[in-house]
Subunit: 297 residues, 2 copies
């Protein structure tokens, strides 16, 4: 083991501490805290656990947090009306709708009904467009790519002129992080290559990477010999590869053969405890950003 | 000279012939043609010449075309009201506002006021977002990148798994064409690298390119020895490098050293007569697409 471990758990802690301070300042300045609503339809156990984590984190930061639970049989029209209520609520600065939604409801229609200026997930087409345009246009960078960029910057990795190779072209990770790293600005200005299932020589691209970002969802896809010595490796994959019989918990592996890669890379994120914990911190950061913008108006 | 020349002038002719046919079918089916309005504020000679070309092309295709000229001192509020009028006009499917606008008017505010479903230039953040999301979401791909992709496809160049290198990261060409070529789908599925002013070894990236797209705005930036033998070279640069004293016209050069590159490349676009003529054809194609969507509602 030679690589420095980039701990998402520790960086999250640092970010949440910074945000706690910012929330205090917002309360002092405007007399109210950032407001976040999490809308949960039905009782999917995984959804409940995600929403609970968001609510707990928001409350620990001092947000005004509403958990709005709706029954499984809520009509699409009623759900849209609920979103419209929060769109115009001056105490709410971020609106989250937990997915999946029941089958009788059109996900896209619901997500696109969120006021883009309160879309702290950053998935609304307006916010995707702002991200691509870049610079001052960007309002809410999507949380997982934003977390990746934050880890790269906080680990002290130079990005300007660096060769970044992004494995995977999803809307949630691959495409946005590729564009973000290629933009002008701090923590960016990189030469970026996007590789994917149709790429002919994955290995040769990975070998060029000063910063390798892997979001393919294939356990151990990236072999140790593909890692450039001294490079920074960000592993976004979270793959269940089995069950720990003693604890009853899933065994998680990333997309990179971690143990061997860590002997070659300069810096590497573990799985679990790497990119995963960052997402929620960036969601809170976007909500604080939104509150500042709304309250300053 | 060994390279096959990809003529934008000829491909434009073919596209306009196809669109003429489509306009006829639209008229037969819906009783009215595609409608396009070009809004020109003031009397900038270059703007007049661009608008005139758009109007002539639209009319030659059988569009319902309105050229709406407004005085230099129109207020921003009046211009916004004018756009709103066309946003709700059922006979208008495409709205173009010719830039630059006078200094007392906020460009961005005006362009963002156009109904995204009539934004045939594809510059509205919603359309930029839809482009990035990809697939069925895409409504109006921006005209220059769409023209580039059309030239690549119509020249018979294989894109799936091809190494595409895009030189330049502008919002008008570099970033959108990079994302378009990396997406899933026909004429795409490429491995894409975006290089720019901060890239360390431009030459080595260009040398890998099966398809090299250059949009840097620097005459002769790409040297002949950077061209991979047999590759397809798309030169988006239009640089004025002098004046022809006999004709009084500007001498135009691309970003690629054309004469020598044409001895190495498999296929190459000339300047002028390459990407330039494609843009207006794609604008017309977007307007026809918009008309079909609006009229089918």
């Amino acid at each position: 083991m030679t690589a420095e471990i980039i701990s998402g758990t520790q960086i999250r802690k640092a970010i949440l501490a910074e945000l706690t301070e910012e929330v205090k300042q917002i309360k002092e300045k405007y007399g109210k805290p950032p407001g976040l609503v999490t809308i949960l339809v039905g009782a999917n156990p995984a959804s409940i656990s995600y929403v609970t984590l968001k609510v707990q984190t928001a409350e620990s930061l001092g947000f005004h947090e509403i958990q709005d639970n709706q029954p499984d049989d809520i009509s699409e029209a009623d759900l849209l009306a609920l979103i419209e209520k929060y769109n115009t609520d001056p105490d709410i600065h971020g609106i989250l709708v937990q997915l999946p939604l029941p089958k009788h409801i059109d996900d896209k229609k619901v997500l696109n009904a969120i006021n883009p200026d309160k879309d702290v997930d950053g998935f609304h087409p307006v916010n995707v467009g702002r991200l691509m345009i870049g610079g001052d246009e960007v309002l809410f960078p999507p949380c997982t790519p934003a977390g990746i960029q934050e880890m790269i910057v906080r680990s002290g990795t130079e990005t300007s002129g660096a060769e970044v190779v992004v494995v995977g072209r999803s809307n949630i990770v691959g495409k946005p992080i590729a564009i973000m790293m290629a933009q002008k600005g701090v923590g960016a200005n990189s030469t970026v290559t996007i590789v994917h299932t149709r790429t002919k020589d994955l290995a040769s691209h990975c070998k060029r990477a000063d910063i390798l970002i892997v979001a393919a969802g294939v356990p151990n896809l990236v072999k140790p010999e593909w890692i450039k010595p001294g490079s920074t490796v960000i592993d976004v994959g979270v793959n269940r590869v089995g069950m720990n019989e003693a604890t009853g918990k899933a065994i998680l592996r990333g997309d990179v053969d971690y143990e061997k890669a860590a002997e070659i890379a300069g810096k590497i994120t573990p799985v679990p405890g790497g990119v995963g914990p960052m997402t929620i911190a960036m969601l809170m950061k976007n909500t604080v950003r939104s509150a500042k913008i709304h309250l300053a108006r």
